[in-house]
């Protein structure tokens, strides 16, 4: 069963003579338990695709379905609810809130209105599972890059989403930490989840079940 399906997705940026079509009819389907890598050069549109798949931005055309729910034509409120319950994000620069400890960052999505119950216990389990319990009370600036990314992954998983989207998740990490993160992403798929990551590094993409290459606004 497809967790993620997208058909004919298009997106342009800029306007007038400066307008440029970044995505030109992208099709993609990702099954539960699958780790898919989208590989492409900088500026190829892979991050834009990830944003559209995660309902962070709206496509100009085409159709996207996540966990059986269509994103196209929905209100902003409804999209927020889908992001809250169905999708988890991992960013290259971690995007941890500086004023919150690692654990509090993980708890953030569980405290949003409409979040599934049991978030606090899931957060504790994830922190223990990812081996970051000893530094859970530390501020982000007191953590290493690898530790910050683990907290970011825990935050992405805390509401038990069906789809995890990772944007260059190893881009700011050394080789060892990057290897750990890839292992964690792989482990995520073991629970009926789908993971899509975008990267420009073929070695990282090689860890995925399937590699799709982005070129000229299309997935190959």
């Amino acid at each position: 069963m497809s967790v993620l399906e997208a058909h004919g997705v298009t997106k342009s940026v800029g306007s007038g003579r400066a307008a440029r079509r970044v995505l030109d009819g992208v099709d993609i389907a990702v099954e539960a338990g699958e780790l898919v890598a989208v590989l492409g050069r900088s500026g190829s549109g892979k991050s834009t695709l990830l944003h559209l798949l995660g309902a962070l931005d709206r496509a100009d055309g085409g159709e996207i379905t996540v966990g059986g729910e269509r994103l196209t034509g929905r209100s902003e409120r409804s999209l927020a609810r889908i992001r809250l319950r169905r999708i988890g994000f991992v960013f290259q620069s971690f995007q941890l809130v500086a004023e919150c400890s690692g654990e509090e960052n993980v708890l953030l999505p569980t405290r949003l209105p409409g979040a599934p119950r049991g978030g606090a216990s899931r957060a504790r389990e994830l922190i223990a599972e990812l081996g970051i319990g000893p530094v859970a009370g530390h501020s982000p600036h007191e953590l290493s890059g690898g530790e910050q990314q683990r907290f970011a992954i825990a935050r992405a998983l805390v509401n038990d989403p069906v789809l995890v989207l990772a944007d260059e998740p190893t881009g700011n990490l050394d080789t060892t930490a990057a290897g750990d993160v890839l292992r964690l992403l792989r482990e995520m798929t073991g629970r009926g989840r789908a993971v899509v990551m975008v990267t420009h590094e073929p070695e990282i993409a090689a860890a995925a079940d399937r590699v799709l290459e982005m070129a000229d606004g299309r997935l190959g």
Binding site: H51, I82, R85, E103, G137, R155
Partner: protein, 758 residues
């Protein structure tokens, strides 16, 4: 230089929204400052300006009617005399015009020479019969102008040829209507007199610094001239300043607060903007721009935004304040400052332009001391990250609301400055409201003046027990009141009030110093009288009684009384009646709470008296009260707008700095509602402590301090009441809601992807 100018213009154009927000803040701060400056400057300088324009004499001598030649010979002999003119002031004259009338007008018959009053419109009196000048208060109230006709007792219709302004007294309706007529007119009507009577001499001296010597000499040569009283120009100023003093003190304080508010708001806004742009500044420096160049560009940008905004704000503040201030000046018989306001307003403009300029340029200049790469990589921001040594923190309770609060508290200096701005603003708005409501009380509630009796009855003292026995009457006692003159001839009367027992049962103006009187040789004097005569506790009050006898009392206490500008003295009945057995008496009646007034009135009528309601002492001062209240409201409204701006600005700055955090939350599933909750947490962190601090500041410090300042006029309870606090807190809650909704809308209008890029 042209390149720098164009760069600055481009910079402003590129951040139009933020420039508009900054400009709004500058305009509001400038408006607030200008409002305070217009009122304070106009009132503070009003008397001197008016006195100069009117050529007010250095001394006005009043005396019982004397032949002109007798007085003139004495005056001419005074040392250092520059000029003198003589008048006959006739009081209680009936006048009427345009459906209005008064039987208490004062008609001044003036001779040749210097006038001592200004002519606002029309022309001076000529030699024609039946021409008069009318004081501007009457002209305004009755709609008179040059060419109008006035019915003057014993003259019939007379023609108004000019409108005058006399700064030696307040205007109608605070004072009686005043009319000037020439001696030629009266002689044409009543016949020529070779040596007419006069009762007022206006004296100008060559060296006002030596006025004391002239007065000593004048007293020494005044033998045979009865009822002589002197009023000096400085004395008039003291008396008039009492009326405006409370407003001036309040506005001077408000100007200081406005300046502080403006400085904090503008500086924090400009600094945050610079902080945000440090990376760009670092990049420009890395590309070869000098420290001076980037500072100059930043300064020019600040000027481009600040100068028009400041000008607009000063203009708006001036327009807002001018109307009520001019009305107040009119009531005080003073001239609006006109062009003289230009310099103070230019100062406001310069200040409100310079603060954002400095706040923008100084951080950029200082940042120039750091390496460009440090600016580009954001080392500046990193240094502000706190939390070193706070490892292993336990998770704190709360959700999005608490996160909003933490985002605000992370910027402690800004939080503190916003709290100062909002807290002081809350306190001042509360103070304005409390003062406005107290002023309203003064106008129609005698209790505000310390009067506890509600009715009076014209009955002999012996009937007091019968009145006290009436159902609904709490207490009744004879009240004696006479008008005395100060023995040192201030030219003003003193109200002497006496009761047989404890006067505080009927009149209890609060004590400013000393204690209540205890015997027939003691007095409690009003603060106004104490200030004018230099009386203190333990000094002696000497009063000339209508009987011609002089009574002396030891000052036991000084009380806050508004009656007769505080020129009152409370005595024991025994002390007063010993020297003035014929003192006017009536029965003062204090009612029980919820007493049936109609039944009491019926009882008094059965005793043969018609009860009269006690009036407030400023019952005739409604125009003054209205003008003051208008000013207070204008200032409070401007202050409220500044608060709204400060709140929005604090939230906008937080939201702008935390774009990425808001983006992450939205990416995690936060909708517009959750963003509003986040911002509500931020707003509550600012508003709640500021409101609490403001209420405390007003009730504990500002209210009592202003009540002390006002002590010469009235016993004012300037601690804000629950109603006023509820209004202000409600307004602040509304402001917070507006700010939250607006900033949330701005934040969610941006795409999440854009926000995540910071």
């Amino acid at each position: 230089m042209r390149g720098i100018w164009q760069e600055a213009r481009r910079g402003v154009a590129q951040r139009r929204g933020r420039a508009l927000l900054t400009a709004t803040g500058i305009a509001l701060a400038a408006a607030m400052l200008a409002t305070a400056v217009v009122v304070a400057y106009s009132l503070h300088t009003g008397f001197e300006r008016s006195a100069a324009r009117a050529d007010l004499p250095d001394v006005i001598a009043r005396f019982d009617e004397q032949p002109l030649n007798r007085v003139r010979s004495r005056i001419k002999a005074l040392p250092g005399l520059a000029a003198a003119s003589f008048r006959l002031e006739v009081t209680n004259i009936s006048i009427s015009a345009g459906g209005h009338s008064s039987s208490h007008a004062s008609v001044e018959v003036i001779g040749p020479g210097r006038r001592g009053f200004a002519i606002l419109s029309g022309r001076p009196l000529g030699s024609n019969y039946g021409e008069v000048l009318v004081e501007q208060g009457v002209a305004r109230a009755w709609g008179l102008h040059p060419g109008s006709t006035l019915e003057l007792q014993a003259f019939g219709p007379v023609r108004v040829v000019g409108i005058s302004e006399s700064p030696d007294n307040v205007a109608f309706p605070l004072a009686v209507p005043r009319i000037y007529i020439s001696r030629q007119s009266t002689e044409a009507r009543f016949g020529h007199e070779a040596d007419p009577d006069v009762n007022t001499a206006e004296v100008w001296v060559r060296d006002p610094a030596r006025l004391d010597e002239v007065l000593v000499q004048a007293r020494a040569t005044s033998y045979g001239i009865r009822g002589l009283r002197f009023v000096t120009r400085a004395g008039v100023r003291i008396l008039l300043d009492e009326a405006a003093g409370i407003v001036i003190a309040l506005l001077v304080a408000l100007s200081a607060i406005a300046l502080l508010t403006a400085s904090v708001m503008l500086a924090s806004s400009a600094r945050a903007e610079v902080q945000r742009r440090l990376a760009g500044i670092g990049l420009r420096r890395a590309l070869g721009a000098t420290r001076g160049h980037v500072t100059l560009v930043q300064a020019l940008e600040a000027l481009l935004v600040g100068v028009p905004a400041s000008a607009l704000g000063v203009l708006a503040g001036t327009l807002l304040a001018r109307g009520p201030t001019d009305r107040l000046l009119g009531v005080l018989n003073e001239v609006p400052p006109g062009g003289a306001l230009l310099w103070p307003l230019a100062g406001c403009f310069a200040l409100t332009s310079a603060i954002p300029l400095l706040a923008a340029a100084v951080p950029v200049w200082r940042s120039g001391a750091r390496a460009p790469i440090a600016l580009i990589t954001g080392l500046e921001l990193r240094s502000s990250a706190r939390g070193e040594g706070r490892s292993h923190r336990l998770p704190r309770p709360g959700g999005t609301l608490a996160l909003g609060s933490r985002l605000v508290t992370a910027r402690r200096v800004r939080l503190l400055s916003t709290l100062i701005v909002l807290g002081t603003s809350v306190a001042f708005i509360l103070l304005m409201l409390a003062l406005a409501s107290e002023l309203g009380e003064l106008a129609d509630n005698p209790a505000a003046l310390g009067k506890r009796y509600q009715l009076t009855a014209a009955l002999p003292a012996a009937d007091a027990p019968s009145v006290a026995a009436l159902p609904g009457v709490y207490a009744a006692a004879p009240r004696y009141e006479v008008q005395a003159l100060d023995s040192y001839s201030l030219g003003e009367t003193i109200d002497l009030i006496a009761y047989p027992g404890d006067h505080t049962v009927f009149e209890a103006p609060s004590l400013s110093a000393g204690r209540r009187l205890r015997g027939p040789h003691e007095a409690e004097v009003g603060l106004g009288l104490a200030e004018v005569l230099g009386l203190g506790v333990g000094s002696t009050l000497a009063a000339q009684l209508p009987s011609g006898r002089e009574a002396r009392f030891r000052v036991a206490g000084i009380v806050n009384s508004l009656q007769h500008d505080g020129r009152v003295a409370y005595l024991s009945a025994a002390g007063l009646l010993a020297d003035e057995p014929a003192a006017g008496e009536q029965i003062a009646i204090r009612l029980r709470p919820n007493a049936d007034r109609a039944a009491v009135s019926a009882g008094l009528q059965a005793l043969g008296a018609t009860p009269a309601k006690t009036s407030a002492a400023v019952g005739t001062s409604q125009s003054l009260i209205d003008a003051l209240t208008s000013i207070l409201r204008v200032v409070a409204i401007v202050n409220g707008l500044v608060c709204l701006y400060a709140l929005i600005q604090a939230l906008v700055l937080t939201a702008r700095e935390r774009r990425a955090t808001i983006g992450v939350l939205r990416a995690c599933g936060a909708g517009a509602g959750a963003v509003r909750v986040l911002l509500a947490g931020a707003a509550a962190t600012v508003v709640l402590p500021a409101a609490l601090a403001g209420v405390l500041l007003e009730r504990v410090a500002l209210g009592p301090a202003l009540a002390h300042l006002a002590a010469g006029y009235a016993s004012l309870a300037l601690g804000a009441g629950p109603g006023e606090i509820a209004i202000v807190l409600g307004a602040f809650a509304l402001f917070a809601a507006i700010a939250v909704m607006w900033v949330a809308r701005l934040s969610t209008a941006e795409t999440i992807v854009g926000a995540l890029r910071g």
